[in-house]
């Protein structure tokens, strides 16, 4: 027990730990007024997030962590959480327990207590536990574990003030319960022996961690602690002693590592039995009822596809009035108004109306589609359907040697590929994780959508809907095939089983759904305002100038002049490379600029095809056949999603893999586009 002065409090850290999906991020938001991402599936948070919390006159630092089941980390996100707790030793660890998944939560709490963390227990989701028919006697729990326990319902904000108070008093008065688990006389004897040796031989390490914890971890064979001890001056001597202990125990305990885990788990069960109370006869929960059908081996898949189809209908058809409104305002009213402005030089007018407005307007009209998609997506995510998708496709994914969890990056990828690459962090196996991150960009993100809508709308008309859906399917199919190829060649290894816990279905919180929709849509808007704006300016500049010098704004009125500009040169060079696909040079130039971000493809088309034309659509109709148009869309789907995604792959896996992603995507895109045109010709399609 120690008393801390108020001044010191300011530099203190509070960590929020707990098993996945217990509500850590929601509680973080409640405590700090922050905006951490909340979603109803395990693995939402994959990065630590820092915030400030004011309690009375004190300001403390709070850290939201990814979910962990124990202090043994397997995946990247778990490692982030474990390292923070073990290495940085926050002053208070708020361990959030899931009242509706009590034993597993308790296991983690016990591990934290053994580590000597200054633990405050937050018993969250008591409403769900109650719905499922039981109650946790938290007063009793408090007396068993000897640390404060605060019951909360994070969604309602219930108990948050009490939690703040408990944190504050824990700051001032440290409580630990290192010896909570009894490992039996034989093992305990060895623990005691190692403990006193450690105190003598490794005093530095014992100041950082409780010596009992180090001793247990050494017996357990924890790699991190073993390597820490081996680096000490008396390290090798210490390790010899550990081996001696293990040898002497071998006669009594068969597998020491699993024995220790088992003792801890038995303790958790024992405590659970003491504090869990049935308050109702077990009834069938709504979650069980729904899951019987939604994860059914026959019905699950068609229902999942139906839900996806409904999501697309919602984003395409229901958003139509908004799309047309934006179109009328931006591409007609604003455009005409700009051109009619008196006193502005012609070249400036042309730059504003035919350059910037044409470029950005052609992308912005799709904003409602994207916003509606994100809205539907956030609803599905918060209801808890996401994790079911991973569950349903697990079998299929397994036959491609991929884990079911790899479905989550692909589904997130429908929105944006950048967070999709990050979502692969939750996959335990190193090779599987790398493959999941590398194939995530094949999932067709919202930025590609405008390209499909423009081209399919112009050249495939009545079939546009089916064609666009087929592109999404093509993306997933290619992801599976490429994933399988990677698993068979570069990233070999055994496949791991399915270990994603299915969360209960919850009714979505409106504020959270709206917030997420807004945040994601805002990102798209922001991109439109920066990357596309820049891209559009560059395209315009390269249009009005060429190898022969300045061409003037005339270039954007007469196609013959435009062809002499730099865009014309780039377009023609690429058109030569893409000769078998018979793409127009303007379309090829758009691919060039689309390298930065897919939104610029349509932006560029908006400028280039608008030259000397009344309507962009008609120009596009003339330059593509249904077949070449389809090949073009497939190319756009597959080749590098955007530089931001490549940068994220570099961030997650390193430069080598980001280059690998870049190269395989370009080659695959070319190959697929070529095959589409080739097969189409064989079938007599034009």
């Amino acid at each position: 027990m120690s008393v801390v002065s108020d001044i010191k409090l300011k530099r203190m850290k509070v960590a929020l730990a707990g098993i996945p999906n217990v509500g850590k991020s929601l509680i973080f938001n409640q405590l700090t007024g922050g905006r951490a991402w909340v979603g109803n599936w395990p693995g939402v948070t994959v990065e630590k997030k820092v915030g400030k919390i004011r309690i009375g006159d004190n300001e403390l630092e709070v850290v939201d962590l990814p979910g962990i089941y124990s202090l043994t980390a397997y995946s990247v996100d778990e490692l982030i959480a474990r390292n923070f707790i073990v290495e940085e030793r926050p002053n208070v660890v708020v361990c959030i327990l899931n009242a509706a998944n009590f034993e597993r939560s308790l296991y983690l709490a016990i591990s934290l207590l053994e580590l000597g963390a200054n633990v405050v227990l937050d018993l969250n989701m008591i409403d769900i536990a109650e719905n499922e028919g039981y109650e946790v006697d938290y007063v009793r729990l408090q007396s068993i574990l000897k640390v404060p326990v605060v019951p909360t319902i994070a969604t309602k904000g219930y108990g948050i003030d009490e939690l703040k108070k408990a944190i504050l008093s824990a700051m001032k008065e440290r409580r630990t319960y290192v010896g909570i688990v009894d490992y039996g006389a034989d093992v305990e004897r060895e623990i005691r022996r190692l403990k006193s040796l450690l105190e003598e031989l490794a005093p530095g390490l014992c100041r950082k961690y409780p010596s009992r914890w180090i001793a247990v971890k050494l017996l357990e064979g924890d790699e991190d602690i073993l390597s820490k001890v081996s680096k000490l001056p008396h390290g090798s001597r210490m390790l010899e002693e550990v081996e001696r202990s293990k040898r002497s125990l071998r006669r009594r305990v068969e597998d020491l590592e699993s024995y220790i885990t088992e003792c801890r788990y038995r303790k958790a069960l024992e405590i659970a039995q003491q504090v869990l109370k049935r308050i109702k006869t077990p009834e069938v929960t709504l979650t069980d009822l729904l899951d019987f059908v939604l994860t059914h081996k026959v019905l699950g898949m068609p229902i999942a596809l139906s839900i996806m189809y409904l999501l697309f209908r919602f984003s395409f058809e229901v958003s139509a009035p908004l799309v047309d409104t934006i179109d009328i305002v931006m591409n007609h009213w604003l455009h005409d108004w700009l051109l009619s402005l008196p006193g502005l030089p012609e070249s400036l007018k042309s730059f504003l109306a035919d350059g910037i407005l044409a470029g950005i307007g052609s992308v912005l009209v799709f904003l409602p589609v994207i916003a509606f998609f994100f809205l539907g997506f956030a609803l599905l995510e918060d209801v808890g359907y996401m994790a079911r998708i991973a569950f349903i496709v697990d079998k299929i994914f397994h036959s491609f040697h991929l884990p079911g969890k790899a479905a989550i990056p692909l589904v997130i990828g429908f929105g944006c590929n950048v967070p999709a690459v990050m979502a692969a962090r939750t996959i335990e196996d190193e090779n599987e994780r790398k493959v999941a991150a590398l194939i995530a960009p094949l999932s067709s993100c919202n930025a590609r959508l405008p390209v499909y809508m423009v081209i399919a709308g112009a050249v495939l008309r009545a079939y546009a809907g089916a064609v666009i859906l087929s592109l999404y399917a093509l993306g997933i199919l290619l992801a599976l095939i490429v994933g399988w190829l990677f698993r068979k060649t570069i990233f070999k290894g055994p496949s791991t089983g399915f270990i994603l816990e299915l969360p209960p279905y919850l009714s979505p919180k409106l504020s959270n759904v709206v917030f997420k929709t807004w945040e994601r849509t805002k990102r798209f808007l922001f991109k439109a305002g920066t990357v596309i704006l820049l891209g559009v300016i560059v395209v315009w500049l390269l249009s009005v100038s060429g190898p022969g010098g300045y061409l003037g704004p005339k270039a954007l009125e007469a196609p013959e002049v435009l062809e002499r500009g730099w865009v014309g040169v780039i377009g023609h060079v690429l058109a030569w490379a893409f000769a078998p696909m018979k793409w127009d040079w303007r379309a090829c130039a758009a691919l060039f600029f689309g390298f930065i971000a897919k939104e610029t493809v349509v932006g560029t088309m908006g400028i280039l095809y608008g030259v000397g034309e009344e309507r962009v659509t008609e120009a596009i109709m003339r330059s593509f056949t249904p077949l070449t148009g389809y090949a073009y869309m497939a190319f756009v789907l597959i080749y590098v999603p955007c530089l931001a995604t490549i940068a994220m792959i570099r961030n997650e896996l390193g430069l080598k893999y980001s280059l690998l992603a870049l190269i395989y995507e370009v080659i695959l895109a070319y190959f697929v586009a070529l095959s589409i045109v080739g097969i189409g010709h064989l079938m007599g399609i034009r």
Partner: protein
């Protein structure tokens, strides 16, 4: 199980059988209409009730999924698994209602859209939208949903 509970369930299951078959049939018709549209584009083959059951792969998929789920409810009832049967009933009817709502939303959106771009709105167009098969069957599914709620109250909540 209380008498009333079992009565509600038998009514619900018989309804489910009928609506389930209707969903499957219309799903198949939609599929047929779709293949007619793809394979004989010149309108040489007429298709069946195309106005109300347009050929659309996605719609066929949804109709068939709902139909299958509702028939699964009958199947599990015959095998005496009340809980499983009830599951199928609830999910099937909920999905049917969501599908119906989506269709109505779409009709509403396209009407507003016509106003914005200055197209004429015809009564027939709206009528066809509101009476399209996925909305039509959805209206009946509301009944089913209410029955399944009633049953839930009787069977699972009463204790």
């Amino acid at each position: 199980m209380s008498n009333e509970g079992s009565r509600i369930l038998s009514v619900a299951i018989s309804t489910s059988l009928i609506i389930g078959i209707a969903y499957i049939t219309s799903g198949l018709i939609s599929l047929y209409n779709w293949s007619v549209m793809i394979l004989a584009p010149e309108g040489m083959v007429k298709g069946i009730l195309r106005k109300y059951i347009p050929g659309d792969l996605g719609m066929a998929l949804i109709l068939l999924s709902i139909g299958l789920t509702l028939l699964a409810a009958v199947y599990y009832k015959l095998r005496q698994s009340i809980t499983k049967s009830f599951s199928c009933l609830t999910v099937g009817s909920t999905l049917a209602i969501i599908t119906m709502s989506m269709q109505l939303l779409t009709v509403l959106a396209s009407t507003i859209d016509s106003l914005i771009i200055g197209d004429t709105i015809t009564v027939e167009g709206v009528q066809l939208g509101v009476l399209r098969i996925d909305s039509l069957l959805g209206y009946v599914a509301i009944l089913l949903f209410i029955m399944s709620l009633r049953f839930y109250d009787k069977r699972f909540r009463a204790k």
